[in-house]
């Protein structure tokens, strides 16, 4: 066994033992569906801020996005701006109002929150089903895990895929949100350290009498390979080929900040006054983590383009630049990134079935007749049993490895944003409450627009298609809310006249 393999096995074993201990502690604290979904609504700002960052920054940040940097060059730095700017502004805009509105509703998830707010079961069930798009997101994280096992342990891709699926499913099966949030905090600290280490490593390795000269050397090397690698908009890039596409990427990152698995963190905070500290923790941590995008650029400078699989470009650079023990540690960090996002997604999808569909729809509407205590128990069982089923579906999606794991991930995020952002934003910023019909219309039209734009091949970029469809969903919401409000007003006036 070579040194990298040995260190990788030891690193994974130590990491998994720590995660399983935290998961076990989480299981002990998980007594009902509220604990499973949002950690009982009783967690501190720094832990939740770290968890928010860990969930927001998936393994795509460490494998997929540096792969884009490797393939498309400096233009991928737009992504860093979109993630820090778009994501942070998105969460700043909605977090406080969502918490405030939830003080009365006590909702556990996005479908629950929207269903309660607009008093619409169609919206509750529809949003729940839209969240199944996140299976793509989970699938992308599995790709990352499989790639790491493939690269560091010499496993076959499919064997690695099955192994990562089993590890993640077993780990989430026990702990729920408590395990999710505490393990996330540990994982994102590792991710931030890795981000800083990668960024600085390139400066040290390619150093030339000062920072400007060093980056000039890096840019010159890239330009010598392909002039488009230093362009502001690279025509070869799938996402940053024009100003319109860049705006789309920023908008979809902004929309992503309201994603359901992130939404859970905002609801999980004990004290509303701590929201600022939570967001500040997230911004600082995320800023350090996204420095890893430079790893893809360094990889291109050091290794050129030949025979490098985009999703493994960062690992190729790490193997080139660092000793075996550090390579193994990076493998563990990427596994941590995959797990920290995947467990959050599993929790949000499980909550859809257990809480939003079973408790709030089937039991509350009398379709299933059980007493409250038994319903709670069944809900917790459903939330746990959903995990292996979703795991298997995600595994099947990526049995054949995709070219870019980041693109698979954005299919999920864009679908969710297109269907849900209109009703969310109108709830938060609308001057008066819109009707349920307006929210339902926005959900359906936003989602259908995304399906047509992306799967119909009209817009090839997942991010841009998602941003345009999200815009259509928001516009539909604004128009329908006003049209239906006017209609309702006319009907009320006519009724009043008849009454007279």
């Amino acid at each position: 066994m070579d040194t990298v393999k040995l260190f990788t096995w030891i690193g994974f074993a130590v990491f998994l033992v720590i995660m399983l201990i935290l998961g076990y502690i989480g299981t002990k604290k998980t007594k009902n569906i509220r604990d499973f979904a949002i950690g009982g609504g009783n967690l501190g700002p720094v832990v939740l801020g770290l968890s928010f960052a860990a969930t927001y920054l998936s393994a795509a940040t460490f494998l997929g996005y540096p792969g884009w940097s490797h393939e498309w060059g400096l233009t991928n730095l737009w992504l860093a701006l979109a993630m820090i700017g778009g994501g942070a502004i998105g969460v700043l805009m909605v977090a406080k109002k969502i918490r405030l509105l939830n003080e009365e509703q006590k909702s556990l998830s996005l479908p629950d929150w929207l269903g309660d707010y607009y008093k619409s079961d169609l919206l509750r069930v529809g949003t729940g089903l839209i969240l199944l798009f996140n299976v793509f997101y989970i699938a992308a994280q599995f790709v990352a895990g499989a790639r790491i096992f493939e690269y560091l342990l010499g496993m076959d891709y499919r064997t690695g895929l099955i192994l990562i699926t089993v590890i993640v499913v077993l780990y989430v099966f026990g702990g729920g949100a408590f395990a999710d949030i505490y393990t996330d905090a540990v994982q994102v600290i590792l991710m931030a350290i890795a981000g800083i280490a990668i960024f600085i490593s390139g400066i040290v390795i390619f150093w030339k009498n000062g920072i400007s000269a060093t980056f000039a050397g890096i840019a010159d090397n890239l330009a010598a390979q392909d002039a488009n690698l230093v362009a502001v908009f690279n025509p070869d890039s799938a996402h940053f080929y024009s100003i319109g596409a860049v705006i789309g990427a920023i908008c979809i990152q902004w929309a992503f900040a309201s994603a359901p698995h992130l939404f859970n963190k905002v609801l999980g905070l004990k004290n509303e006054k701590d929201l600022g500290k939570m967001i500040l923790t997230y911004v600082i941590t995320a800023s350090l983590c996204v420095l890893v995008l430079f790893g893809g650029l360094y990889s291109r400078v050091a290794l050129g383009s030949a025979d490098v699989v985009a999703d493994l470009a960062l690992m190729e650079y790490v193997a080139w630049a660092f000793p075996a023990i550090v390579v193994a540690m990076f493998g563990v960090v990427i596994l941590a990134a995959a797990m920290s996002t995947t467990d959050g997604l599993f929790v949000s999808i499980s909550t859809v079935f257990a809480n939003d569909l079973f408790l709030k729809f089937l039991v509350r509407r009398g379709h299933v007749r059980v007493d409250e205590e038994k319903a709670e128990k069944i809900a917790l069982q459903i939330s746990r049993l959903t995990v292996p089923v979703v795991g298997i579906i995600a595994l099947l999606i990526v049995m054949k490895p995709p070219v870019y794991m980041g693109d698979i991930m954005w299919i999920g995020i864009s679908g969710v944003a297109a269907g849900t952002l209109g009703p969310i934003l109108y709830a938060v910023y609308g001057r008066r409450k819109a009707s349920a019909r307006a929210a339902e219309g926005s959900m359906i039209i936003g989602l259908v627009a995304y399906l047509i734009l992306y799967f119909g091949g009209l817009i090839p970029s997942t991010m841009t298609a998602g941003a345009v469809a999200t815009g259509i969903g928001i516009a539909t919401m604004a128009i329908l809310a006003n049209v239906l409000a006017t209609e309702n007003k006319k009907i009320r006036l006519a009724d009043a006249e008849q009454g007279r």
Binding site: L77, L81, L92, F215, A219, A231, V232, I279
Partner: protein, 44 residues
């Protein structure tokens, strides 16, 4: 300009982004909490 156009966009874009995010965070989350806290103290 920092090295070339795209690195300049990244560097100054990051600075501007942090200023906007920092200002929004202070105005919407820290300043309001602080003034609410003061008002509550005043009432007591």
């Amino acid at each position: 300009m920092f090295v070339n156009e795209m690195l300049t966009v990244w560097l100054y874009g990051s600075v501007i982004t942090y200023i906007i995010v920092g200002f929004a965070l202070w105005k919407w989350y820290f300043k309001e909490n602080h003034s609410v806290g003061k008002k509550e103290k005043g009432r007591v």
